[in-house]
């Protein structure tokens, strides 16, 4: 019995370490973004709408964190709570259509862009913490991985676009508008959206990779009684070494990530699934 509890506690430690590592990788990206925003932001012309959204968003995050320790919420509750501003858009749009008064359209634009900016500023650390928490509690790996990619991609986006600009950003609406413009430009230019270089970005990516790979291979295992974690560690290590070798060989033929990484991944997954005859 003691060996089972030892393995179980070891597995929990692995989960916590992986979650911490992944959260840290997201926080590094957030800190890059925050540092850059603080240096670029112009707070002098902050409107009342921006201030209210900013303050209420902080209150909402604190309330949710505090209440979450006591109550179990439906997943929809935080989504509604954090996007109350977006609910104001349809009535404002209706008013604008009926009255034709330009103030409504302006208010809509301010609310939407301020909300985007505030969300990036206030919600990002909360979402990183929430994701790390779900790494410990969530049992479905595929849901978690999907969430992790979206989380990492959004964090990488806000930090990398801000890292590339030197123009001042006017308050929170300016930040929101900057994100919208960056996203539109990158879609229209069909460029690689989140490709960033830099030591901190690389460090964050590495931590994200290690944290999630270790979590996928070791953290979500069920009680495999007699297998030791250091033996298990060999598998992600072999896999990482293989990727290094594979990419260094395959770049000689093509630089297209689709051929180097995506297609081999899908083909291998099919092979593994096929050999196991797909019985889940």
């Amino acid at each position: 019995m003691s060996s089972i509890s030892n393995v179980s506690s070891k597995r929990n430690v692995v989960k916590i370490v992986c979650a911490a590592l992944t959260a840290l990788s997201l926080l590094i990206l957030y800190l890059i973004f925050l540092g850059r925003y603080v240096s670029l932001a112009n707070w002098s012309s902050l409107s009342q709408i921006e201030t209210w959204i900013f303050i209420t968003m902080i209150i909402r995050v604190i309330a949710l964190v505090a209440l979450r320790t006591r109550y179990q919420f439906q997943p929809l509750v935080p989504i509604i709570l954090f996007s109350v501003e977006s609910l104001l858009i349809p009535p404002l749009l209706g008013m604008y259509i009926f009255t034709g008064y330009a103030g409504y359209a302006q208010a809509m634009g301010t609310i939407l862009t301020a909300w985007l900016g505030v969300s990036a500023l206030v919600l990002s650390p909360y979402l990183a913490f929430s994701f790390a928490r779900s790494m410990i509690t969530e049992s479905s790996l595929w849901g978690l991985m999907t969430l992790s990619i979206l989380e990492f991609a959004s964090m990488l986006f806000i930090s990398s676009v801000l890292a590339k600009t030197n123009q001042p950003i006017s308050g929170l609406t300016g930040l929101g508008a900057f994100f919208v413009i960056s996203l539109r430009d990158q879609i229209s230019n069909a460029s690689v959206p989140f490709a960033s270089t830099g030591l901190l970005f690389s460090l964050s990516a590495l931590m994200f990779y290690i944290g999630l790979l270790a979590h996928a291979t070791m953290g979500t295992r069920e009680a495999g009684l007699e297998l030791r974690l250091h033996n298990l560690l060999l598998l992600p290590l072999i896999a990482t070494m293989f990727i290094f070798m594979w990419t260094s060989v395959s770049v000689a033929f093509t630089s297209d990530i689709l051929y180097i990484l995506t297609i081999p991944t899908l083909v291998l997954a099919m092979v593994v699934w096929g050999v196991a005859r797909g019985k889940a």
Partner: protein, 385 residues
């Protein structure tokens, strides 16, 4: 090899990660997806190369002896040479029909098993199913191991049940002193003269010395046979026809036969006779007749266990067994066969009770036995012949 639930989730996660990351061009996440799949493939190879050659199981005690319905413990040691990477777990252990096997304690190295036999007799074999899982627990496969040399001897309760010994009162034949009054040659005691006492046994000199007119006579000791033979006949007719639940019926038949042999044997040994069990047994050259000799209860229990795995006897072998034995043990259904029923009816017989049996004939000295009946009548009939 099959995917586990986690395996399905893991592969789906890898594929979804690869697709979403490609759309968003998050390269580190595509690399992560490939790493996950490579790790899965390595893990799969490790499991695929693990076979029964890497695993062995051993029972600490390969021959367990226990009384019917009592619990015996055994330890099943498991050795795996791939334990560092492949987890080995015993998913089920099955004993032969009639034995209830339960896992009492489970560790990675051994299982403590409890065996409770429902019927008496000798049971052989143990089948364990091992589930092997890869290091990442994405796949699993099952391997079945059977241990044919494992034997459980379930002794009949009749060997420990208190019995009333039927001591023969008047005997003439036999090679051994019966330790009771009888008609043998040996002096047993001096007692008052009774009309049934032979006149030549009156001790006239002693009578003359006695003050009154009392007559005293010499009492002779009884003689009993040195060895009595119990024949067990299992005919093909009674054991291959009809029954829907053949295995269960066979077990019950042998259980009652063992109980009967135990009751008869114990009684004979307590009287002072040696016991021989006569039965048919399969050999390399076909079915032959074998006898197991028992001088005491320990030897009797061994003999009964050997008898419990007896083979079916054809009519010639059955006739030979009946001829050699003093008491026959057979089933009511076996007596549906006329020649066998006629042969059995000539001697005392213990008949195993069977439902829906319509025997051709049952001898006068026969006990229809269900496991609890008094069998002393048969003993008495044999010894006082």
């Amino acid at each position: 090899m099959r995917l586990t639930r986690r395996g399905g989730d893991y592969l789906k996660a890898s594929a979804v990660t690869a697709i979403i990351s490609t759309i968003l061009d998050v390269r580190i996440a595509i690399a992560l997806a490939l790493a996950m799949v490579v790790a899965a493939l390595t893990s799969q190879i490790l499991l695929a190369t693990s076979s029964r050659r890497n695993i062995s199981m051993r029972m600490d005690n390969s021959h367990v002896t226990v009384f019917k319905e009592e619990q015996a413990l055994g330890r099943l040691a498991i050795t795996s040479r791939r334990r560092r990477f492949v987890s080995v777990e015993v998913s089920s252990v099955e004993g032969p029909e009639g034995i209830e096997v339960r896992v009492i304690e489970r560790t990675p190295d051994y299982l403590t098993l409890s065996f409770v036999p429902r019927c008496s007799g000798r049971f052989q074999g143990l089948v364990a199913t091992f589930v092997l899982k890869d290091p990442l627990q994405l796949f699993h496969k099952s391997i079945e191991f059977s241990k044919t040399d494992f034997i459980i001897d379930s002794l009949p309760r009749s060997l420990v049940t208190e019995i009333k010994v039927a001591r023969p009162m008047s005997l003439t034949l036999g090679e051994r002193a019966g330790r009771t009054r009888g008609s043998g040659q040996e002096f047993y005691a001096v007692d008052e003269y009774h009309p049934e006492t032979e006149k030549k046994d009156i001790l006239w000199k002693k009578v003359a010395r006695l003050p009154g007119d009392q007559l005293v006579a010499r009492i002779r000791e009884s003689n009993i046979p040195k060895t009595l033979r119990i024949g067990v006949i299992k005919s093909p007719r009674g054991h291959t026809n009809g029954a829907n639940n053949k295995g269960e019926n066979q077990l019950l038949w042998m259980d009652i036969a063992c109980e009967g042999a135990g009751a008869l044997g114990k009684m004979l040994i307590s009287i002072g006779c040696d016991v021989e069990l006569v039965y048919a047994v399969g050999t390399d050259n076909g079915v032959g007749i074998l006898t197991s000799y028992a001088l005491d209860l320990s030897e009797l229990s061994t003999a009964i266990m050997e008898m419990s795995v007896c083979s079916l006897s054809d009519s010639t072998q059955a006739a030979e067994i009946i001829l050699q034995s003093d008491i026959s043990i057979t089933g009511m259904k076996d007596l549906e066969h006329e020649p066998l029923a006629r042969e059995v009816s000539k001697k005392p017989a213990l008949l195993v009770e069977e439902a829906e049996a319509s025997p051709y004939t049952v001898g006068e000295i026969a006990v229809i036995y269900s496991g609890t009946e008094d069998v002393s009548r048969l003993i008495y009939a044999v010894i006082s012949r």
